[in-house]
Each structure stands twice: as structure tokens, then as C-alpha cells.
Symmetry: C3
Subunit: 139 residues, 3 copies
């Protein structure tokens, strides 16, 4: 049993879902761990990690539109907004989704279901470089 | 320290919460692990894992009703819906809840609070067989 | 590799976010674990764990106000409410956020981003003593 730390940088270009499944699997391949778990941890408070349907892009567009309406940039009672109208909504969207996700690894592969993909969910309009810490624990 | 993988199948019969606390504890018993963690990972994008009040069934009914209203099947802007009106809402309900949950194990028992139960949260109307991957890490 | 269990008690005094980042780091320091993960698990169904912006208190106030409106205490269809009007909303707010969170530890320190703090998110009006189980796995 051992601990293997790694990092992933994701360049985003506006709100939406960015798939990182293959990049995470590559990091696991390189770690040599065959059985255990990988914990993905996003080191920001204005983007999230989600596992989502990876086959049909319309599902991701509908999801994005749902969040745009649930946490509107036009909310009149928000006081925190020094970075713009997408600032406070980005923190709320992050709290409603996930900062960390733990995925099982068996025989060297993440045990995702057929339609599951891992996505960075960006909540800001401007381009960003997002950092994810990966911790692989296993043997 | 070691890694123990297992699986749980849950048969669902429509939207709602299905308690699996005892089934998960049985798997831990059989693993022989006394101290560590169990990670539950649901291998689907239209159901979730949640930890919820397990005493009063009215709490679960109110929760279900809240989600039916928050993510309505009548939403007019959804474009992804080849599998029916509960298709897109099921993905959003999943993103708003959890795909994985990690619970501590001490002296062979999950360290749940008095009122906590583990539930599969089904978001589809039709009956399904749901697969959960369990990864027990410990000694 | 080893497992280290610990506990944290947090006294809350009404709805809102209570930062516990330093208390968690102190527990890690005392465990002697230098590389691995810490899993925080809240043993209640009416409060949550979240990682949130820790610099500007207005962000936390806006977040609290958003949840007060999203899950209103005046909801007429709630039937579960033996403990008061904040009872059922507290369970829903918990399901919409997180019961467990796993954070990487490297060189003895949690790998949080610059603006990330760990918070207990209290959903009840009355004062409570909240219990968190900490499981540190590593070497």
C-alpha cells in the first residue's frame, strides 16, 4: 500500500463542463497503482468536479442552463461581487456540486459506469487555469 | 493495510430513496477490515448516493417532493430527453446530490450518527438494477 | 501506511458557516501522517461540510441567504416538521451540500487552494454540538 500524489491543470474558456476522464486515467497508469482509489480535489472555490453523462452533449448544455437559472447572475440581494456578476453565483454553484470525488481503481482502471465521465465544471466566464490535486491510494 | 473491492446491486421501482445501510455493513463485516474507510460509488448518471434521516419516512417524502419541484419534468428548455421527461431531470438531480460518499469504519462498524442511513436515491420512474462499487481501505 | 481516527466537536449558534480549517490541520499535525488523505464525515443529517471562500465574509452571507430562499421555511407542502419550521429545510440543505469531504495531505499539510477554507454548515436555528469524524489514511 502506498500514496501517490499528482496534479492536473485544466485550461477553461468560459462556463461549462470540460471532460478530464482520459487525463485522470493516464495519471493512474503512470502511478502503477492497480487496486485502490483516486481522490480528485479541485483547489478553487469557483469551479467544481462532477461525474456526468458523457455521451450526449445536449445533456451538458441543459445542465449548464439549469444552473444559470437556479443561481442567476441578476440576483439582486448578492453583495459579494467585486469580480463581476458571475463571482457569487460561481461560489454557490460550487457548493451545490462537489469539491472532491473519490473513484475506485481495480486492475489499474477507474471503475466508472458505461456513461460516466469526469468533468471539471467551470463557473466563471473568463479563461482560467484550474488545478486539481490527485491522490491515488492503493497497491 | 489493504484494499478490498466489492459490489452491491440495488433493485429500484421508481423515484425515491432506498435504504442500503445494512447491506453495506454486511459487506464490511465480510471484508474483515476493522479500521479504515468505505467508499461507495454509484456507477450511473441518473441516480445518487445520499446519507439521510432514517427514522421518519415523511422526511424522505418531503425531500422527494422538493426535488420534483426544483427540477421539474415540465421544464420547457430541456433538449436532452430521448428517454422521456424524467431523463434530463435525473442527471441534474444526480449532479445536485452525490456520486460517491466515504464513511469511516472503526472497530468494524461504520461511524454513522444516530439518525443517519445510507440511501440510493433513484431519479428514474422505470424499474432499474443499480450497481454500486464499494472500496474498503484499512486494516 | 496506517489509519488514524479522530473526532472534532463544533459548537454552533444558529444557521451559517463555521470555519474549522485550523482545527482539522491541528488534528493532522498530531497524527504524524505526512502523506495521504483526511476524510471529514459529519455525523448528523441537519448540518453539512463545505469547502468555501474564506476571505470575504459577504460571500458566506450571500450563500446563507441563497439557501434560505431555495429551501424556504414557509414551504407549505412539507409534512415533516415536528422539530419546527427549520427541521425539514435542514435535511434538504444537507442533501444539497455534503456529508463527507476528502482532502489530500502532502508534507503534513492539507493541499487546499489559496482561498479555500473548510466549514461546518449549520442548518438549524438552535445551538448545537456537532460531531465530525476524521479519518486520516497515509504514511
Amino acid at each position: 500500500m502506498r500514496v501517490h500524489h499528482d496534479q492536473l491543470e485544466v485550461r477553461t474558456n468560459g462556463k461549462g463542463l470540460y471532460e478530464i476522464t482520459d487525463e485522470v486515467q493516464s495519471k493512474i497508469d503512470r502511478s502503477g497503482v492497480r487496486n485502490g482509489t483516486v481522490t480528485l480535489f479541485v483547489q478553487h472555490t469557483s469551479c467544481s468536479i462532477v461525474i456526468m453523462e458523457n455521451a450526449d452533449p445536449t445533456a451538458r448544455r441543459d445542465l449548464e442552463e439549469f444552473f444559470n437559472r437556479l443561481v442567476s447572475e441578476d440576483t439582486d440581494y448578492f453583495t459579494h461581487g467585486s469580480e463581476g456578476s458571475d463571482d457569487m453565483p460561481s461560489h454557490i454553484r460550487m457548493v451545490l456540486t462537489r469539491t472532491s470525488e473519490t473513484v475506485p481503481i481495480a486492475d489499474g482502471k477507474m471503475q466508472l459506469g458505461t456513461w460516466q465521465g469526469i468533468f471539471l465544471f467551470e463557473h466563471r466566464r473568463a479563461p482560467h487555469r484550474r488545478k486539481l490535486a490527485l491522490t491515488i491510494i492503493g497497491e
